[in-house]
């Protein structure tokens, strides 16, 4: 029986969702950040998930873990605002603001926390299954 494997899978899921929440927090914190030139402007970070199949000796079926393969910057266009009085404005009077889409980030945050909870529930259920097994044969 591979209860340990279930805990590992749920743990990997929780870890991946935590990283996703971290990127969301970072994006939201930098949502309104202006930069002196467009190259330095903050670009929203997105995690890329991928699957790792982990085969154990017990039980032939491979468990599907999830991992964060990379955290990439989005290439959405920067928010160029016309603010000639801003100290960071260029010759034409435009200031480069970060390309974070706040609404998208909020939705992402909700999805990430729901996913995290799902993995917690998986782990809780696996625990109660194992507890039941430990009490097998008790009067």
């Amino acid at each position: 029986m591979s209860f340990g494997e279930i805990y590992n899978i749920a743990g990997a899921g929780m870890h991946a969702q935590t990283i996703r929440l971290n990127t969301v927090a970072s994006n939201l914190a930098n949502a309104g950040a202006a930069a002196e030139n467009p190259d330095d402007a903050y670009r929203a970070l997105k995690p890329v998930f991928s699957t790792i199949y982990n085969q154990t000796n017990e039980g032939k079926a491979a468990g599907a873990h999830v991992e964060v393969a990379a955290v990439v910057e989005t290439d959405a266009p920067l928010d160029m605002r016309y603010e000639p009085d801003h100290p960071f404005s260029d010759e034409q009077g435009y200031v480069a603001y970060s390309n974070v889409n706040t609404v998208e980030e909020m939705a992402d945050m909700m999805a990430a926390s729901r996913s995290f909870e799902t993995n917690v529930e998986v782990m809780n259920r696996a625990r109660s299954m194992q507890q039941g097994l430990l009490q097998l044969g008790n009067k």
């Binding site: 749920a10 039941g132 097998l136």
Partner: protein, 116 residues
């Protein structure tokens, strides 16, 4: 008269093991609910039962198969979260059922041994 524990416990030990392996698969599906390109997998209980009924020796290398989704998603992920959660939950209940059957078998054996 000797008691053979394996035959006394019947198929419930096998089904218990199957349920744990299946919950591993389903946990993997739930963890990968948002991984692009991930294909949801499952184990087939019916295939195992057919093997047992045919009197075949059933090992622990259960057949895995890919799920056919009701709707396809743009990122080719075939996990349908709600359905997967329902399966995980039902599988856990089936596990409890097997556990209960095993407990009943054991208490039956205990009564026989104690002669009450």
């Amino acid at each position: 008269m000797a008691i053979n524990l394996d035959t006394a416990l019947g198929i419930h030990a096998q089904t218990l093991d199957f349920r744990v392996e299946r919950s591993k698969m389903l946990a993997g599906n739930l963890a990968n609910a948002e991984t692009p390109g991930y294909k949801a997998q499952d184990l087939d209980f019916k295939a195992v039962m057919t093997q047992i009924n045919a009197g075949m020796e059933v090992g622990r290398d259960y057949q895995t198969a890919y799920r056919v989704p009701y709707q396809t998603s743009a990122d080719q992920n075939t996990v349908e979260l709600g359905k997967e959660q329902a399966r995980y939950s039902q599988n856990a209940m089936d596990y409890q059922t097997s556990l209960t059957f095993l407990n009943m078998k054991i208490s039956g054996l205990r009564s026989a041994i104690e002669g009450q």
